[in-house]
């Protein structure tokens, strides 16, 4: 019985340390990708993998930015075209076109982007709120603006981007 009591405090720090470890390695890191000339960022913790463009099966009755579903090693994953989500003109897929698979609300979803750029380290103090006026349509998908030296990365609001 007494062992059981001792058990709890010893187990807890381990679990805690493990948790913080994961957070440590992904904290403040963003995967950035490019659409047209803009660079966008998504928290790295959400990214599952990046794959090159593959065969996409169209699904009827879905919005035009939903390209369809792909077979990701047996998983059926919906993919959306971020360009089209931003109402930008369609662009042919090329060698750089990628599908960024993210995990969102327990399911996976793929984002088709022009190309993947880098993993950027943006500290909290360099993350700014977006301009309050929402002039552009795709502005609504931007949650924050991240500053890395002279560059600006638009940090995406996944909730809005993936709202169906």
């Amino acid at each position: 019985m007494s062992d059981k009591l001792q058990e709890t405090p010893t187990a807890a720090p381990i679990a805690l340390a493990y948790q913080t470890n994961i957070e440590d390695t992904t904290k403040d890191k963003f995967l950035t990708f490019i659409i047209d000339d803009e660079e966008y960022g998504v928290e790295i913790a959400k990214i599952r993998e990046i794959i090159s463009i593959c065969k996409i099966t169209k699904v009827p009755e879905s919005p035009d930015y939903v390209e369809g579903i792909i077979n990701l090693r047996g998983d059926i994953v919906p993919v959306i075209n971020v360009r089209r989500r931003f109402s930008k003109p369609w662009k042919e897929y090329d060698a750089l076109t990628c599908i960024v698979v993210i995990e969102y609300n327990t399911y996976k979803i793929g984002l088709i982007v022009d190309s993947v750029n880098e993993v950027a380290y943006i500290q909290e103090e360099n993350i700014l709120p977006p301009p309050s006026s929402k002039i552009n349509y795709y502005n609504q998908f931007i949650r924050n603006i991240g500053r890395v030296e002279e560059d600006v990365k638009l940090l995406l609001d996944l909730d809005r981007l993936l709202a169906n």
Partner: protein
């Protein structure tokens, strides 16, 4: 130390899980069986049924006590008592309906608690009220039955306590006790009740203040003045004191003797055993021989528990078989019984009555070997659990997680080894000292039982094993992968245009084996509908009672098998349909008589196979659905899309499945909220089934549920449509053919129709329906597939047929909302995704 500790803990957790799983599985089965028996028995309890109920309650009690679910055990005990009385006394004028009510109430409580346990919630329900009711009823029965009333003290003896009728004063002492519970322990009245209950038949003629401990107002009184009671008992002062000290949350106990026991005049002795001269004082050597009930299982653990209990008041214990740790002893105990020799300072009667309480005991014989032995415990036995029972119970538990050598209470050859979990066990739940202790004991208990349980099962010859559903699901998933992998190999692109005669021959053999394995895997998941069907008896019974209706439930074809996943989804729909039938359909007996129908209504529940589907038909001989009322209500809710008269009866009846749709003006406890039938359609949709309603006004209604046999792997026809490949379930395809332009008609609104052999069907061009580009638009180039859903038929145009193959159904990602005509998808041999066409989508425009 740390590492090993962790290991032990996880082991304990694991075993607790599996043990709990086993427990809830067995309980669920017992409860189900019990419910059926009770419902069947309501008309009049036959002796077999009473025996059966008694046996089930006994098993539930034993198992629950073993798992330390005390409230369940207590409830089961109350019902068991009741049926014990019925069995033994066989009273005549029992109101079976009331009896059934009580038993069902008690059982509902147990069921509720089991649900909680299954969901991982604390089983903290309080069945005291129900138990008291049952006990009171038992008392009442005894009053009207042949048994003489047991209470002599009169005024406020609590019903159900000390119900043994043998109050012949004599060797009974009268005690007076005041008990205070820990401050903040809450529910003092129930604790007081439980305390008395635990003492059971050991005390009689109880008078307690506050008198009414059922009422919550007594809580304050007990808190302020303590719980005072007087009782008669055969137990000595020390014994009673010790027993009372076991009470959970006990803070203070004062016990005094009001009147000491008088020398026995005529001592009631246990019937079957040879009664040697009782040993009044000093230490005697006893020999006990016990057998457990045949289906008790885990005899060695039970034997161990028996020894463990014995250790509290005896020493120098020797038993045969000596090794009850290994499971090999199970068979031994089963065939030869379990023999124990021990010394104790207790009297024969005392020991006999204590031993008699062993769970699952079938046979007990106790004899005195020697009336005067040394009171010194010999060194041969482990005394750890003997000297101070309270402390040791805690260390017993520690023994599992502490890898120090612990004296093992049985004469195990190698005590230096880390004690095997199986050696530690626990005694009756009432003995738990406090919640922490209890919890710790729980772990141990579960562990020990879990560890021994499996070998025990192995030892028994069993032709049925229970497998966890998750394992079956996993197997099914792997099966799906295998099916796909097989077609990926045999239809590999690299093999195209090659002459591979022997390869294809072998491949064919492979496919055959795989499909056999697949059939087997699927058949493992098939479960008879009977359990689901029989559950409905209860609903019918309860509703009849409440609504004053007289309805008989007929069950046909309950042996029909359906996939486990599907069964889970049809119990609720069935319940709602039956409720609907009884509430809305079946008329009151007097109205029925007026209409020339038999007073007793009938609801028929029928299942049968039909192709790849199972049909479940619920029909009643009630009033039928009221089309006018439904249409009126639909109009009121703004649901009508065309003129009233254009709705066929079937279409009109479909309205009742819409959420929030009820024609009942008054909300009753059964219907009127418009929730029930909505569940029917949603649940059926999940499993890909459908429901059709037929009704003849005044004669009754009929609900036909069509559900697929199985979900996961179906035969599909792959069709080409532009670049895409779609899959149509083979079971919904009636035929396919090339169409001729002259058979196509177009109505003014542009709907196309096709005439086949004198019949006209709607035609859907699938590329239009799904908005697919680059598909064949010329009707003569494509191919027409005739699809049926229920009683409707439609023709669709596709580019070409590719081929038939088994497909593994995968759900579409949650990201997609409901898509008309598409429900699921599958992976083809080459890894492409093919959407599976759901014919239902073509019909509900």
């Amino acid at each position: 130390m740390q590492k090993s500790l962790e290991k032990v803990m996880t082991l304990a957790d694991f075993d607790r899980e599996s043990m709990l799983e086993m427990f809830s599985y067995e309980m669920a089965q017992l409860v189900e069986q019990l419910e059926q028996t009770i419902i069947q028995a309501e008309a009049g309890y036959a002796i077999e049924q009473i025996n059966e109920i008694f046996r089930i309650m006994h098993t539930i009690k034993g198992a629950a006590a073993m798992m330390l679910f005390e409230n369940i055990a207590t409830s089961a005990h109350a019902i068991e008592d009741l049926f014990y009385f019925l069995r033994e006394e066989n009273p005549t004028d029992v109101d079976y309906s009331t009896l059934t009510d009580f038993v069902l109430e008690g059982m509902d409580f147990i069921k509720g608690e089991l649900d909680k346990i299954e969901q991982g919630l604390p089983n903290n329900g309080d069945g005291t009220e129900t138990n008291l009711k049952i006990n009171a009823y038992l008392k009442q029965l005894k009053g009207i039955g042949s048994e003489p009333a047991d209470s002599g003290g009169g005024s406020s003896s609590t019903p159900g306590f000390g119900e043994s009728g043998d109050v012949s004063a004599g060797n009974y002492a009268r005690y007076k006790a005041v008990v205070f519970f820990d401050i903040g322990c809450e529910m003092e009245n129930i604790r007081a009740y439980t305390m008395l209950h635990n003492l059971g038949s050991q005390i009689t003629r109880i008078i307690h203040t506050p008198e009414n401990i059922i009422d919550e107002s007594s809580i304050e009184l007990i808190r302020a003045n303590g719980f005072n009671f007087e009782c008669d008992s055969k137990l000595s002062y020390d014994e009673l004191h010790a027993q009372l000290m076991e009470t959970i949350f006990l803070r203070e106990l004062s016990l005094e003797v009001v009147r000491p026991a008088q020398p026995a005049a005529a001592q009631p002795t246990p019937a079957a055993s040879p009664a040697p001269a009782p040993v009044e004082s000093g230490v005697a050597r006893y020999e006990a021989f016990i057998r457990f009930e045949e289906n008790a299982e885990m005899e060695n653990v039970r034997a161990y528990a028996f020894i463990h209990n014995l250790e509290d008041y005896s020493f120098d214990i020797v038993h045969i078989p000596t090794d009850i740790v290994s499971e090999t002893s199970i068979e031994d105990i089963r065939s030869h019984g379990f023999r124990v020799e021990f010394s104790s300072d207790k009297s024969y009667d005392q020991i006999y009555s204590i031993l008699k309480n062993t769970i699952y005991l079938r046979e007990l014989s106790l004899s005195v070997v020697d009336t005067g032995v040394s009171a010194e415990p010999s060194g041969r036995i482990a005394t750890a659990a003997y000297d101070d029972s309270v402390v040791v119970k805690a260390t017993d538990v520690a023994a599992v997680s502490e890898p120090e050598p612990e004296p093992i209470p049985v004469s195990k050859p190698e005590p230096a080894q880390a004690p095997e979990p199986a050696t530690t066990t626990y005694d009756q739940p009432a003995a738990a000292k406090n919640p922490a202790d209890m919890e710790a004991k729980m772990d141990t208990a579960l562990m020990s039982v879990g560890a021994v349980d499996q070998p025990a099962k192995k030892a028994a010859t069993q032709s049925v094993i229970s497998v966890s559903v998750s394992k079956l699901d996993q197997l099914l998933n792997l099966m799906g992968e295998l099916v796909i992998a097989e077609s990926m190999v045999t239809q590999n692109k690299d093999l195209e245009n090659l002459e591979l005669e022997s390869f294809y021959k072998e491949a064919l053999q492979l496919r055959k084996i795989i499909s056999d394995v697949q059939d087997n895997v699927m058949s493992m998941r098939m479960i008879q509908l009977s359990a689901t069907f029989f559950k409905m008896h209860r609903i019918v019974r309860d509703m009849c009672k409440q609504l004053n209706k007289d309805v008989e439930l007929k069950i046909i074809g309950e042996e029909t098998e359906v996939d486990k996943n599907i069964i889970e989804h049809i119990a609720d729909p069935l319940m709602h349909i039956i409720r609907n039938s009884i509430d809305h359909g079946i008329e009151l007996p007097e109205n029925r008589a007026g209409k020339g129908k038999p007073r007793k209504g009938t609801v028929t529940l029928e299942a049968k196979n039909s192709g790849g589907d199972v049909l479940i038909i619920v029909s009643d001989d009630g009033a039928g659905l009221n089309r006018e009322k439904i249409i009126a209500k639909a109009r009121q809710n703004g649901l009508l899309r065309k003129h009233d008269s254009e709705y066929t009866d079937k279409e009109a009846y479909q309205f009742i499945f819409l959420p929030g749709f009820s024609t009942n003006e008054n909300v009753t406890s059964y219907s009127g909220r418009g929730v029930g039938m909505d569940v029917v359609s949603t649940n059926l949709e999940i499993v890909g089934g459908s429901v059709i309603v037929d009704s003849i006004p005044g004669e009754g209604s009929k609900f036909t549920l069509k559900i697929p046999l199985t979900l996961a792997i179906i035969d599909g026809m792959i069709v080409k449509l532009g670049d895409a490949k779609y899959t149509i379930p083979i079971i919904s395809i009636q035929q396919s053919f090339k169409a001729k332009q002259e058979n196509i008609f177009t109505d003014p609104s542009g709907n196309e129709m096709i005439m086949i052999r004198g019949e006209v069907y709607n035609l859907i061009r699938l590329y239009e329906f799904f908005n697919v580009e680059s598909a064949t638009t010329n009707i003569e180039d494509g191919i027409i597939i005739m699809i049926e859903n229920g009683e409707q038929t439609i023709c669709i145009l596709v580019d070409e047929l590719i081929g038939q193959q088994p497909i593994v159904v995968k759900t579409l990602p949650k990201y997609f909302k409901k898509i008309r005509g598409i429900s699921t998808c599958t992976l083809l041999g080459n890894g492409d995704i093919s959407l599976i066409i759901d014919p239902v989508g073509f019909f509900d425009k």
